[in-house]
């Protein structure tokens, strides 16, 4: 045995795994982390961070195009894709090396390789230098998810691509077909539309961003369509043929079959748990029907000492959720009374405009049979939104009718992703709409929209006529 036995073996170096390992290291546990690819996982390397870098550029391009409205004259805007990609890669590698430094600084042993679980206290690691077995007191499965492949829509990396390739493009495809109108698909749809692509979105369900509030989604869809995109809901791809570098795609839509030519087809139809090598069957680890591992509030599976965090432990698939679960798992392994007991799990989608939500929607409240109040405030009535020229969208507050308890907020509009955190805190603290309404919000800021919507709910809006 070359290495010492471990207290914790974290399998997967994404935002769940690396955070778990750092916390475990801080708590004095002998920790190893095994990652076959780059540290930081999907989020840092192929997801959140690189996509937000490119989306930022796309927004800038877009704003410059409309800059004349503000009196700003540009002599035509041109985008150097190579430079943009270079900058994006720098951002990513800076963060990845930061993660590595943090792991090392907390005495975590990093192993570049793939892991298999043999028993609940033994794993096997395969690296460039061979295979070895490591006894460990506990195991954290943080292997994440991988994109679902659709039959007939297999990625080839050229014409049919996934989100990973979509981040590496060095030019905007002339015609982009996005299959799957979820968060990932729509972010790319909005981004490439700004880079000049003619975008078509196909979604199997009856609305984009399934599960989100329909009023919110309408704002995003309207803008997408106003800029020339075609959106087919309740539709699916029936066939795809490739010839001379383009795809001919047949769609089945509620208005009949439609044929589309696309230079790139981005497939983003959901993700499935990555559990190969985790010995799920051998150890009898319980999963749900889709294969997501079931974990308790302490993030432990039904097998003592084996924990599961992040995407692999089920939706919502969010980096920040994975990180928090990683902390909980590490603390529980160290014997601390930690638990995944959050009330609010905020969600942000970087479409145009941005969508962010926390808690439940009106529809979910109705399902629960609880009487709620729903109040809205449009960004178009807000000084700050007008002064930045971003007036689409609104803040919607859902509160319990009997006492004003905030149970959910949906935001569609400028900087929604930053605005939602206040609501997450409010919900964790059990705040009412009055609490938010009575809290002074600085002027002129976008956050005033939340205050106004809360004021409406508590019955005394200033900048809104009562209907």
């Amino acid at each position: 045995m070359r290495r010492m036995d471990a207290d914790v073996a974290v399998i997967g170096g994404g935002p769940g795994g690396y955070v778990c390992a750092i916390r475990a290291g801080q708590l004095g546990l002998r920790t190893i982390i095994i990652e076959p690819d780059k540290l930081g996982g999907e989020c840092l390397n192929y997801g959140c961070i690189p996509s937000k870098s490119l989306i930022t550029v796309s927004k800038l391009v877009d704003r410059l195009k409309e800059a004349e409205k503000f009196g700003l004259k540009t002599d035509g805007v041109s985008l150097d894709y190579v430079q943009m990609q270079k900058w994006k890669s720098e951002v990513v590698s800076k963060l990845v090396s930061g993660v590595e430094a943090l792991l090392k600084g907390n005495h975590v042993t990093i192993i570049k390789g793939s892991a298999e679980i043999l028993t609940k206290d033994r794993i096997a690691v395969t690296t460039q230098s061979g295979r070895e077995e490591i006894p460990t007191r506990s195991i954290v499965i943080a292997t994440g998810t991988e994109p679902i492949q659709l039959q007939g829509l297999e990625r080839d990396g050229q014409v049919v691509i996934g989100s990973k390739e979509a981040l590496e493009l060095t030019s905007a495809p002339k015609r982009l077909l996005v299959v799957g109108g979820g968060a990932i698909g729509l972010e790319f749809a909005c981004m490439y539309q700004k880079f000049g692509s003619q975008v078509t979105v196909v979604e199997l369900m009856a609305q984009l961003l399934p599960g989100s509030d329909p009023e919110v989604v309408r704002v995003v869809q309207k803008k997408l369509e106003a800029r020339g995109a075609k959106v087919f809901l309740g539709s699916k791809v029936t066939s795809l043929t490739k010839s001379s570098g383009v795809a001919k795609v047949e769609l089945e839509t509620p208005v009949g079959p439609i044929s589309i030519i696309a230079d790139k087809v981005l497939v983003s139809v959901g993700r499935r748990p990555r559990t190969a090598g985790m010995n799920i069957a051998g150890l009898g680890i319980k999963t749900d029907q889709r294969g997501f591992i079931l974990a308790s509030q302490r993030m432990m599976t039904n097998v003592d000492g084996v924990y599961a965090i992040g995407d692999v432990s089920g939706p919502p698939l969010l980096a920040h959720k994975a990180s928090k679960q990683g902390i909980v798992a590490a603390e529980c392994i160290a014997g601390l009374p930690s638990a995944a007991d959050w009330r609010a799990m905020p969600d942000a989608i970087f479409t145009d405009p941005e969508v962010a939500s926390v808690g439940i929607t009106e529809a979910k409240a109705a399902e629960a049979g609880v009487e709620v109040k729903r109040t809205r405030f449009q960004f178009s009535a807000l000084g700050r939104a007008l002064s930045t020229g971003e007036t689409e969208g609104f803040v919607k507050v859902v509160s319990r009718a009997k006492d004003g308890l905030v149970v959910g907020v949906q935001i569609v509009g400028p900087d929604a992703s930053n605005l939602i955190s206040e609501v997450a805190l409010a919900m964790e603290m059990g705040a009412t709409v009055e609490d938010i309404a009575l809290t002074v919000h600085p002027h002129p800021t976008l956050s005033e929209a939340l205050m106004e919507a809360a004021e409406s709910a508590s019955g005394s809006p200033i900048h809104q006529m009562k209907i």
Binding site: K286, D288, L294, A295, S296, Q297, R298, M299, M300, N302, D304, S313, G314, Q325, G335, P337, S338, A339, A340, D341, W342, R343, A344, M345, G359, I360, A368, V370, R400, D403, L405, V406, V407, G408, M427, E428, M429, G430, T432
Partner: protein, 407 residues
Amino acid sequence: MTYEFKLPDIGEGVSEGEILKWMVREGEQVNEDQPLVEVMTDKVNVQIPSPRTGTVARISVKEGEIAKVGQTIVVIEEKGGQPAPMPANPQPVPTQSAEPRQMSTIASPFSAVLAAPATRRLARELEVDIATVKGTGPQGRVTDQDVQSAAAGSRVVTKPPEDKPAEQAHRAGGPEELIPLRGLRRTIAERMLKSSLASATVTHVDEADVTELIVLREALKSSAEKRGVKLTFLPLIVKALVPSLKEFPYVNSSMDEQGGNIILKKYYNFGIATDTEQGLIVPVVKDADRKDVFSIAGEIEQLATKSRSGQLGLDDVRGSTFTITNVGSIGGLFATPIINQPEVAILGTARIEKRPVVRDGKVEVRDMMYLSLSFDHRVFDGAYAARFTTSVIETLQDTKKLLSAVL
């Protein structure tokens, strides 16, 4: 087939347990789910059922011995063709595992207890089920303090996580009887523990010659009767204490921990510790400095009656600044009373007894009484407490001082 039964993980943080009692003997037949063994840990006693049907081949850990979690404690020989099938690779069966087997989900915003994240964490740390804590904050919000009180309360009641095994021990005719901690007992339990944890308590003991006090009481008895009150020693002691409390203001104070202040109180409300059938109650005689001894006597009598008939109002029991507990009526030399929070001192008065004492070089028989002052050392020191007690004794022993204090 041989099944080695290992001591399962009984609950959070428990790593070992004492084998209290084996319910089976070697060679005996045991059925699945039949009570097998009783184990005592530092937290709870649990009865563990047998995970298998078979014959007890060997008991590896005897009664009274300590077994570690994961250690084999009994070997069960399963017969072929038994109804309970055995997996090929037997895992230690977590019969009593505290791990819930459900998916971690976000609590519904409707059903959730109103409490801040840090308060929820505190509850976990103190092993308090926050759902059972009554919130005293706005809109019933559970505060840190509520959790702490609940934790203090539950430390008095040892709450077993598994109800079933405990119930069996407490069943009628069982070796233990279960008295639910309710009402006044629960309040006393919480208050007493809270007080012991809250103050740095020291008890200072001295004795007073109360011969003069007895004379005075005799002298005032008829006047009291005329006013329709019975004059005990208590109202006299209350009045005798007032000058000393004025002279030593820190004894009549409380501590404002949050603000970092000591609050000296310029009013003198006496808590009178009263023994009732349900337990200890401390009604309050307010503004004793501004009332004469007969009024105080009357009030004490009334409060005692109300206490015993359970008719005290909230106003009758709050606002005391200093408490007297008469521990002498039943027996004992002296006691070390627990401070009635948020006060900082309590005086225990013991039984009055004739004892030989030396006066001017001669042994004399005098009426003597022990005084025990429990005080919060955070607020004042032993020397201050001794000076205060000496001052009280001087008042009780000196006819002039006593008269001017009482009348």
